[in-house]
């Protein structure tokens, strides 16, 4: 939350305006399209169980793991057909929101 007094430029409709840029603007997250091959935690919580192993073939709709969060046991389902390339968490791990849990290929 440091005061940002640096003058920068902001492009609005092909014109560059000399101005201060807010920290909110400078720290904005650039957009990334979602990838069904990367399973992320949609909420912070604890991994209760993992149902798949590296190298296993999976189909859309298969249960991958249980993420326990806010007193709910959430089943994470597979959103695409593929093979489990990497499992990046272990049973009992506590994960924050947006953590990569499983990568498929």
């Amino acid at each position: 939350m440091k005061e940002n007094n640096d003058q920068g430029f902001l492009n609005i409709n092909s014109t560059l305006y000399k101005t201060r840029l807010s920290s909110k603007f400078l720290n904005r997250k650039s957009y990334r399209p979602s990838d069904p091959k990367i399973i992320l935690s949609f909420i912070p919580g604890t991994i209760l169980d993992i149902f798949v192993k590296t190298g296993q073939n999976v189909k859309t709709g298969d249960d991958l793991m249980i993420l326990d969060a806010m007193k709910m046991q959430n089943k994470l389902k597979c959103l695409t057909d593929g093979t489990v390339k990497k499992i990046l968490v272990n049973k009992g791990d506590r994960v924050s929101k947006g953590t990569i849990l499983i990568e498929l290929e």
């Binding site: 939350m1 003058q7 902001l10 609005i12 409709n13 092909s14 014109t15 560059l16 305006y17 000399k18 101005t19 201060r20 840029l21 807010s22 909110k24 603007f25 904005r28 997250k29 650039s30 957009y31 912070p44 919580g45 969060a69 806010m70 506590r94 924050s96």
Partner: protein, 514 residues
């Protein structure tokens, strides 16, 4: 003799109650840099003006050994007094008594003073310093909060409601301040959140301090929940007193008039604004160049700085100012600045305060984050608020007024009563570069020297459209004025709209985007 004895008895009872939670608790309060509830009231109100009510109220809780506990005044002080001679009703939670926790009688005292303020049509000031619900009193405590929220809502837009956060204000309790008009916070003292650091740690495993989660700075800079930030309780009280001078007692009155005074000559409107529309300047200096005594009282100074809002006086009358700030984010409209401006416009409208809008913006902030955050519905609030407002609306276009931003910033089309433009104004569908790229795309693309052609076309467009005269020719602008004439035109507009009457269609209520 008997009378004397009874008077002494009353004095003794009072003295005991004045000690609140006792000397130890008071020491603890002081160690946190905080004053006691009664000291706060005394510091805020005019000397000897405070009349306390319900001093002898006691709780009736029986469970968990509560029947053995005496809680002086049940942890909250209520009453009324004056600020610079203006009546205000006030309550202050006493943290030294059971942590200022809210039980049934505590809440009944608060709702009593709220009902009083509403009935008597006077502003209500609430000083919050409480650990939250009094758990021992169970659902009665929740009922108390609900009764407060209900009254905050029905009083909204009728009497001014001011919340001062001078301690913790957590869980459901924060919804009362959120329902009021202005929230004051003090660095290191105010703490506001729905779920605290401990819950967040347990449930989510994230560690954060109270200060980082919901301290005064956070609410002033990031969340927009607070309107005034102070470094000390003294500074906070001065801010409240100043605010009280600008606002009326209720929606059926106008704010008090003051002796008018000329602006400080240091603020010369002719030299503040650069001619090149891409260069920044501080729009607050333009406000100071037109308001009485150059006295501009800014609201939400640290939040969404790309728009400036606040009060000043024109010819002695309170006036609300809304101004794009080219110094910050080029003065664009975005989610946060739209929220900030629209709520202020509605405040002014509810309390009979004319609005002066100073326009200089290149448009809306582009970005996925903005679109996904709902800049459509947030931006729409500005259109709604200006269109709905029936108080005098006066607009001065200083430089850029492009596209949707032009329409939104209190344009003639949203029923501004007066629209003035400086000769530097550019009222157009978009900036010259963007417009030339679209209109002359073919010429530019097929040219042997596209850059040269683009420059030429931009200049052509500028000469033709980047001025106030196209809009003035249609009557969308009432007068093109010299910067130094601005105060004169504004005073004229404020004076002539003193008795403005506009009747909107009768309806239960509209559905402003939220």
């Amino acid at each position: 003799m008997a009378v004397n004895k009874k008077i002494r008895e009353l004095q003794e009872k009072r003295e005991k109650i004045f000690l609140g939670g006792g000397e130890q608790a008071i020491e603890k309060q002081k160690a946190m840099g905080k004053r006691t509830a009664r000291e706060r009231i005394m510091a805020l109100l005019d000397n000897d003006s405070f009349m306390e009510y319900d001093m002898f109220v006691e709780h009736e809780a029986r469970d968990f050994d509560m029947d053995k506990k005496s809680l002086p005044s049940d942890g909250v002080i209520i009453g009324s007094g004056t600020i610079y001679g203006s009546q205000v009703a006030i309550f202050a939670q006493d943290f030294t008594v059971a942590g200022g926790s809210l039980g049934l009688m505590h809440s009944r005292k608060i709702t009593k003073i709220m009902d009083h303020a509403l009935k008597m049509r006077m502003p209500l000031i609430g000083i919050n310093d409480s650990g939250g619900a009094r758990i021992q009193e169970g659902v009665n405590s929740l009922a108390g909060y609900g009764e407060i929220f209900f009254r905050n809502t029905i009083s909204s837009g009728v009497i001014p409601q001011i919340s001062v956060i001078l301690g913790p204000c957590a869980g459901g309790a924060v919804y009362s301040p959120a329902l009021t008009d202005f929230v004051f916070v003090v660095d290191k003292i105010s703490k506001m959140f729905i779920t605290g650091p401990e819950v967040i740690k347990t449930v989510l495993g994230e560690e954060i301090s109270m200060e980082e989660l919901g301290g005064a700075r956070v609410h002033s800079e990031i969340t927009g929940n607070a309107h005034f930030f102070a470094r000390s309780e003294e500074e906070c009280f001065e801010q409240i007193k100043k605010l009280i001078t600008f606002i009326p007692w209720s929606n059926s009155r106008k704010a008090r008039s003051f002796e008018p005074g000329e602006p400080d000559k240091r603020y010369n409107p002719e030299t503040i604004v650069p001619g090149n529309p891409t260069l920044p300047y501080d729009v607050k200096d333009v406000i100071r160049s037109v308001v009485d005594k150059s006295d501009f009282f800014e609201i939400m100074e640290l939040y969404a700085k790309n728009i400036v809002i606040g009060f000043g006086r024109m010819g002695g009358r309170t006036t609300g100012f809304v101004a794009n700030q080219p110094l910050e984010m080029a003065g664009v409209l975005d989610v946060d600045s739209s929220d900030k401006a629209s709520r202020f416009i509605r405040y002014c409208d509810a309390f009979n305060i004319p609005i002066i809008t100073l326009v200089d913006l290149p448009g809306y902030l582009p970005g996925v984050d903005q679109e996904h955050a709902g800049v459509i519905r947030h931006g729409a609030k500005v259109l709604y608020a200006y269109s709905e407002a029936t108080v005098p609306k006066i607009t001065v276009i200083l430089r850029k007024a492009y596209g949707g931003g032009y329409i939104a910033m209190s344009s003639r089309h949203l029923r501004a009563d007066f629209v003035f433009a400086w000769p530097t104004a550019e009222i157009a569908v978009m900036g010259p570069e963007g417009a030339a790229n679209i209109i002359f795309r073919k010429e530019i693309m097929s040219s042997d020297d596209p850059d040269g052609m683009r420059k030429q076309k931009v200049e052509e467009y500028k000469a033709k459209f980047a001025n106030p005269y196209v809009a003035a020719a249609r009557g969308y602008v009432d007068a093109v004025i010299e910067p130094k004439e601005t105060r004169r035109f504004l005073l004229h507009a404020i004076e002539t709209s003193e008795n403005k009457v506009v009747k909107l269609l009768g309806k239960k209520h509209g559905l402003p985007p939220s």
